[in-house]
Symmetry: C2
Subunit: 205 residues, 2 copies
């Protein structure tokens, strides 16, 4: 019996295959890491032709993003934010994450990560991959290009920003700590942007 | 058949009862909250006399701490840290948490929280209780007493410190993000203390 069509699926069927590809992608990305995983391996694990994977998800990054339920391409978005320069960068980063997370479902990859954080499941491994291979390197590279920060220092600065964002996300969306759970985005940007700006270009002692 | 004695249990037996009381405490604290839970209710849930609960755990705070596997009394420790004044408080707080978390098993309540964070389990509810009823109020009260910060503002300042600490704890111990996973405590104190100090007494705009 064919599976019922779910809401939001593109017309044309194949929805079952799409889900199978995503499930295979999660297994393979978690086992192999983003770098070593290939569309061909994932297609093989899903028992479909690689062309079908490309049809649904474009490239490996698109597949990765879909497997993580990300509403946008974080590397592309963050790349554009960093490329606009170091001035006001802390503010743009805080505003970007709060805006994405505030979207319906925007926080779900983050919560999926937390579900797996204490164990060793696929969500955890995939999100580590995303942070370590995509998000942090993109930001660090942008910072190095913007003001000549050395790569190792740029990595530290970017990771420090990451720690504050992760903690803010947990408090606002997961634990629900007041007042940060209900403060408007503008107020949170005002409160936290100076911290990120210091992490990005202030003294590190 | 009697249960085998476990390592680290005080001589005198009763280990099984002690574990039963802790299990009952986790259920009752999660269901009722710290304030409404009583030693009597917990003793009833564990089918023991309240005197036995007091014998093992002293008072309700001691039982709560044991149920959360905390290595020390956070309210007492933080109370003492805040009482020493606002000067250098950011540094003392960062150093305190990193030192406790670096202890063997010191991070385990935090990881237990993460396990439950995305669901609605007892660890999550109990740690929310601890943050909301014990840790944040103790710190906020100390800050208000130290320099006359209004209670609502003191709460915001303390919660902001909490967001940075939670994010740092996740990056260092749970996700394992380099370089913060392996930097020495002294270096992390140097990097993060200025942020907490600003949250505690700097401008909030």
């Amino acid at each position: 019996m064919p599976a019922a069509r779910r809401r939001g699926r593109p017309v044309g069927g194949g929805g079952g295959k799409r889900e199978e590809i995503l499930a295979a992608a999660r297994r393979v990305f978690a086992a192999e890491g983003f770098d070593r995983a290939t569309l061909r391996t994932i297609a093989g694990a899903a028992q479909v032709d690689p062309a079908m994977v490309r049809h649904y998800f474009g490239d490996k990054a698109g597949l990765f993003r879909a497997a993580l339920h990300l509403p946008l391409d974080p590397a592309q978005a963050i790349g554009a934010i960093v490329a606009a320069g170091v001035d006001g960068l802390g503010e743009r980063i805080v505003r970007f994450f709060l805006t994405v997370w505030d979207l319906p479902g925007g926080i779900s990859p983050f919560v999926a990560f937390l579900r797996g954080a204490a164990g060793h499941d696929e969500s955890r491994t995939m999100l580590q991959e995303m942070l370590d291979q995509v998000l942090f390197p993109t930001m660090a590279k942008g910072l190095a290009e913007a003001n000549g920060t050395a790569p190792e220092e740029a990595r530290l600065r970017v990771v420090m920003c990451g720690t504050q964002l992760v903690g803010l996300g947990m408090a606002r969306y997961v634990i629900g700590v007041e007042p940060v759970a209900s403060l408007p985005v503008d107020r949170l940007v005002e409160l936290y942007a100076p911290t990120l700006q210091r992490y990005l270009e202030g003294p590190l002692t």
